[in-house]
Amino acid sequence: MKQVRWALTGALLFFGPMARAQGADAPPTADLVWVALSAVLVLLMTPALAMFYGGMVRRINVLSTMMHSFIAMGVISILWLALGYSLAFGTAGSGWIGDFSRTMGNGISTSEPAASGGSSALFMLFQMMFAIITPALISGAIAERMKFGSYVAFIALWSLVVYSPVACWVWNPDGWLLKHGALDFAGGTVVHLASGVAALAAAIVLGKRRALIHREPIPPNNLTMTLVGAGLLWFGWIGFNAGSALAMNGVAVNAFISTHMAAAAGMIGWLVVERIKTGKATALGAASGLVGGLVGITPGAGFVAPVGAVAVGLLTGAACYLAIGLKNKLGYDDSLDVVGVHGAGGLLGAVLTGVFASEAANPAVKDALAGGRMELVVKQVVAVGAVGVYSFVVTMGLLLALKAMGGIRANAEQEDAGLDETMHGEAGYNLY
């Protein structure tokens, strides 16, 4: 009991000026409390994403779009416990994929500290929340036109053949990219780049929405919901990044500050470019820019000092605004700009982690910089290339296979009437 109280005090101190001094000597229980709290924060990000995406589509697709995120909480949770976790964090002699030693909750102990990785039950839970949100991120690219059953099959398979292996490469103690020396603190490559690139493949395979082809307007149904969603993503992202320290210590505090600063700077970066290009700073732009900044700092949160994080946020926020214009030039229909925000932001963030990583933020950066900063940046580029190419190719193959087995796209009638009515038999907004 005394230990529990101590842990809570530790968590509270985290928000106070003494956090840094406290971190180093905190007992494992404080770490467990922090990781458990962080898991809850990351869990909240998926309903937040549902709101963020749900507000941006037409009113005939609001439920279907929100459902794309919610169903991941159902399907991926079970899949992760049963198999996905083991493929990512089981023993991986090859460095490419884990074995079956931790399937169905086996080999996982509730008495291990979270930082012990593969064998801790809390670590499995914390990682589950990442596994849930990653395929849900892709759903923004296929919004308003994919069959629901096909979507569920797709995210389940994608989680096993893309997410788990990539998580193994980057985070498993045996992972080849980890050994290669690439830095990815909280999943810039595993979560954002992998989903952003998969989104590109998905948008290409599915093709353009009929409304876009026919030049019909596609107005967002409720941007107030999108803004609340973006705010909750910011909130949850603190757990995503600072929780990735897996302990209540100085690195966690640095990740908290860097994450927050990058979100703030991302919003400003996007709005400045938007204001220059179109004359107006929009609310949707503020929401998008802060998410872009958060994506950008994800790989570097625990390695980049607060001022560096401001630079990362400004650059990714601005770059994401420019990147969303690519879809019109190149002709793919990335409905809600997953490629522009998570793909481009994830790529740039990984590279900028190499540029701004500093020993002041994390002593571990000393080793990473042993071969010089240029070498680290090159390693980051290799990680981006490997994850990007793998995710693109496998996602493309997966979707083409599903397409060949019976089609993945709603028919024209369903698409015109809206997926809420035709896939789910309900409406988000009723007259009475």
Partner: protein
């Protein structure tokens, strides 16, 4: 009987309701509508994609009155809803063949008083 259909600026709704109330007129239907007149349209920008619509936001008031009340009602609405700028809206007068009170089947003028 005449139906008065007035398209007005949304922010003038309260003033119009007051003016109509002063004439002891009860019973009306109010709807949020979009419409197009001489007023310029609106351009929305979502993540750089621009949508321009010629439609602007209006509120439509529909009330059915006895013939002798028509001119007073029209004057009251015009005064209350007007600003003198383009975009103040329109009032249409439509003859009404009959009116039926659903509760008891009353017809004609008693049904609207």
């Amino acid at each position: 009987m005449m139906k008065i259909e007035a398209m007005i600026r949304p922010q003038k709704l309260e003033a119009v309701l007051e003016a109509v109330h002063e004439l002891q007129l009860t019973g009306m239907t109010v709807t949020e509508v979009r419409g197009m007149g001489r007023q310029r349209g609106i351009t929305y920008t979502y993540r750089g994609s621009q949508y321009t619509t010629p439609l602007s936001h209006k509120v439509k008031i529909e009330l059915v009155v006895n013939d002798e009340m028509v001119e007073d009602a029209v004057r009251a609405i015009q005064e209350a809803a007007g600003t003198g700028e383009v975009g103040d809206g329109k009032i249409f007068l439509v003859p009404v063949a009959d009116a039926i009170r659903i509760r008891n089947g009353e017809r004609g003028e008693p049904a609207i008083s």
